[in-house]
Symmetry: C2
Subunit: 513 residues, 2 copies
């Protein structure tokens, strides 16, 4: 059946929804929640492409849409790539895709072959599979696991779900982190170091998935991160480095589609976690990669042993798809640096590049250890000497100059100073409830406080930990500061803080029997 298009100006986040008059829906055989496929109508009567799939909302008894009209949500209109002149679409009833049989096969504990994985990934990308069906796939991967072969196939299928960039004549370097440690703004230090050393490093990052701030969220405080493919290539041609939001380019869209489900489920199956990282790298033409694997409570790897298991598997899969990877297992007992939250982290990273002598040393050391691996891979330093060279790039100011160039190229203000970066404006200083040493820091409490305060959506919200493990504090001293864009959220964050003090203060005695 053909329908006149009515754009509704509604956006739903994940879902694709179209609205039909109830009589039309009946004639089509569609019930509320059913799926339909939309096709462009061309003059010669031929469909273009495969159309798109959407669930149907049936209008009951209101004048929302007229008979013969279909109401389109913005996501649907965008996915249909409606040209301005188009006024009609054809709608057909859609039945469950074959890829769902493969998801069932995985639920039943069987290994999937190349074609099956390709079809599942294609249907995730196109939106043919419903969110609940994708959730079933993710849970099946989580519980039943994945073979190395499956992970390689997932990686390939996810890479090929979108644009694959290539940079002839360049060796493409990259850095990635498996996450889980708060305040991990190392990318903002590593990319300038690599640029200073002449490496080609087109760093694409995600926004926060479950954390209070992702790398793209942080860098966006300093400069835009969302570019078209064309603009991104122009920037890279000139600067050979940049920090971009991967979501803006059509790089491995299957991964984004899966993350849209993984995120609300708080699930990240082992094999998919590997495929998700590597596909993004493959699609940017990366061949040399350093992977930061924070290990410890609150990360994906509670023990170093867990991290090692992952690292070995990651290296193997990466190698099978043509990427040389080095994995560093890193400490995740407390935040890297002091700041958590996009603006606070951008400020801290910028400050370190401007004046590395002022610290924080955890940020400087970790960034330079990771950057050092890339410098060694590039032959810029002998093995074991990469970190020293990386530190030298920071100390000499060359990394800061590289950062200025990147900010400028991406459309930010290269003269921006840490003090120019606004935070808050609502601020609460939290004081030590006792005298003693900080014996432990609770990362998950810090993340939670930052999120309650408004992160990552409210970029100026966040937390600042003044004293870290080992520091001696006096009762009443300010040990923690919470920033929020909203007075109400600040109050809620303070309440949560008081119930879950992120810093444990103790004496030297651990127990008395």
């Amino acid at each position: 059946m053909n329908f006149k298009i009515k754009r509704l100006g509604l956006t739903t986040g994940q879902l694709s929804v179209v609205i039909l008059d109830d009589d039309d829906a009946f004639a089509l055989g569609a019930k509320p929640g059913d799926r339909v496929r939309l096709f462009h109508i061309k003059k010669d009567g031929e469909h273009v492409g495969e159309g798109i799939v959407a669930s149907v909302d049936v209008v009951i008894g209101s004048g929302f849409v007229e008979r013969g009209e279909v109401g389109l949500y913005e996501e649907v209109a965008e996915r249909l790539k409606l040209e301005s002149g188009e006024k009609e679409v054809e709608i057909q009833l859609y039945s469950k895709p074959r890829s769902f049989d493969y998801i069932k096969k995985k639920i039943q504990g069987h290994e999937l072959n190349t074609l099956e994985i390709q079809e599942v990934i294609t249907d995730c990308t196109k939106g043919t599979l419903l969110p609940i069906e994708m959730a079933a796939f993710i849970v099946a991967l989580e519980i039943n696991g994945t073979t190395d072969d499956e992970v390689v196939k997932l990686t390939d299928a996810m890479t090929n779900s979108g644009e694959v960039f290539s940079f002839p004549g360049e060796t493409v370097y990259d850095k990635h982190s498996t996450g889980g440690v708060p305040g991990n703004k190392v990318t903002e230090i590593i990319v300038p170091i690599c640029k200073a050393a002449g490496l080609f490093i087109p760093k694409t990052s995600t926004r926060a998935i479950t954390s209070p701030s992702g790398t793209a969220d942080v860098f966006e405080v300093l400069a835009p991160v969302a570019f078209s493919k064309k603009r991104l290539l122009e920037i890279l041609k000139k600067e050979r480095a940049g920090i971009f939001w991967g979501g803006a380019i059509d790089s491995a869209p299957a991964d984004n589609a899966l993350i849209n489900i993984e995120k609300p489920l708080n699930l990240d199956p082992f094999g998919l976690m590997i495929a998700s990282i590597i596909c993004k790298k493959k699609s940017l033409g990366v061949t040399k990669l350093v992977l930061d694997i924070p290990c410890g409570k609150g990360t994906k790897f509670p023990t170093v042993e867990d991290g090692k298991k992952y690292a070995f598997r990651f290296k193997e899969i990466a190698k099978r798809v043509g990427i040389e990877a080095v994995c560093l297992l890193t400490s995740a007992s407390q935040p890297i640096g002091h700041a958590v939250g996009p603006a606070l982290e951008a400020r801290e990273a910028l400050q370190l590049l401007i004046d590395p002598s002022g610290g924080p040393s955890s940020l400087l050391n970790k960034s330079c250890e990771l950057a050092g691996v890339l410098l060694e891979m590039a032959g810029k330093a002998p093995e074991g000497k990469g970190k020293d060279l990386a530190i030298e790039y920071v100390r000499s100011g060359e990394a800061y100059e590289a950062m200025r160039a990147i900010i400028k190229a991406q459309g930010g203000n290269p003269d921006i100073q840490p003090a120019d970066i606004e935070v808050g404006p609502h601020v609460a200083d939290m004081r030590a409830v006792a005298e003693g040493h900080i014996t432990n820091v609770d990362n998950s409490a810090i993340n939670r406080i930052a999120k309650i305060a408004g992160c990552p959506a409210a970029k100026k919200s966040g937390t600042y930990i003044h004293q870290k493990i080992g520091a001696q504090v006096k009762k009443g001293e300010v040990v923690f500061t919470i920033y929020s864009d909203s007075k109400k959220r600040l109050e809620e964050a303070v309440e949560y803080y008081n119930q879950h003090l992120p810093q444990k203060i103790g004496g030297m005695t651990l127990d008395r029997i």
Copy 2:
């Protein structure tokens, strides 16, 4: 924040959606896809109940709702139980419910305790859990299985998710089928037999979940099946029997919420399948139950051994919640009777009650075997003699009289004759492609053909199998008829039929070497 209510007249099937202006959403801290909780505003400032949860649609740039207005979908308005006078609701941001932690625990392979199960079930019922989270729970139950303790707890929690009926002084009888065999209209025969014998049998049924027609769909052709609790009790008080749609009363709503997810996933985890049946029975006060377990290809139990395993577990769980259950493992090699589809099945059942000598014998025998068990449980017949007594009730016309009384009590026309029941109107007779014996019948092809023809939504659509296993057919003889409400759907059903002939015609030789 408080919002003025604007009802949108939209219905989405499974989802709960509210629409906010984008500035309001920002002020609330809600992004598209986020969840909020809606509360009634009362004059004294106190909230009533726990509110409800819904995902948010954020309006972008359109005049859909004004600032300060919230657009409500019909499901949300209904769940809020908006009284006519109410013009405002309070909206709060909602965070992930604790019950999702328990779902994660189940994903990780741990057993859930009573409180955890109660909370998951409560949140499924209230809509606090998102569809993808419920999907994760169902997949986890499917893959990781359930202990008997968990199934008992699920049963109790699901029973208590809604109204629990009790009929003091009555022993409440019931019949249920695990499904999978086409044309299983035995309920329409069993309930009249039991009523004729004086048993109290308040049979609640579902509409089709994955099949072409559910018991409620079939009986609805003869009389209404959806009643308020009050009306249902009036009917039962007078007639002591009836065939009702369980979805219309607030009986175990958790089960419906789970089925809404299980159905599109085509999943029905073993433990949940038991809990789902028993909770519906418990909520109707049933203490004596006969369970029909069709075994064979296309059912939930491919072999009789599978069915036996289920039967033993079912009896045990039923016993633990106070229900005496007898399970009959039944043949599912071909349809019961000939007709598949609501109207065709209603016609066939009515015909059998009016003239049992005309058959079909499979329907008469199966119905009377199941009814016979209930008659034996009630002491109306000695063990082994129940079937004979049941057949006697049919032959004597007492079952037909009971059926007339039920139809009348539920608001149907008791004088309705099989020929009065409309089918089609589009009809295609399919002819034997060869001479020989019917050696095999493909149930799944029959179900598929019936569904393509429009079942269960189109009640007059369906299939009629003229010749079953063992019958001798001549080439060109009509062996199968397809009925549809739509010419287009009939064509599609015929096309599918021709590609997947449901009757296999062969000679007596099986193989020649």
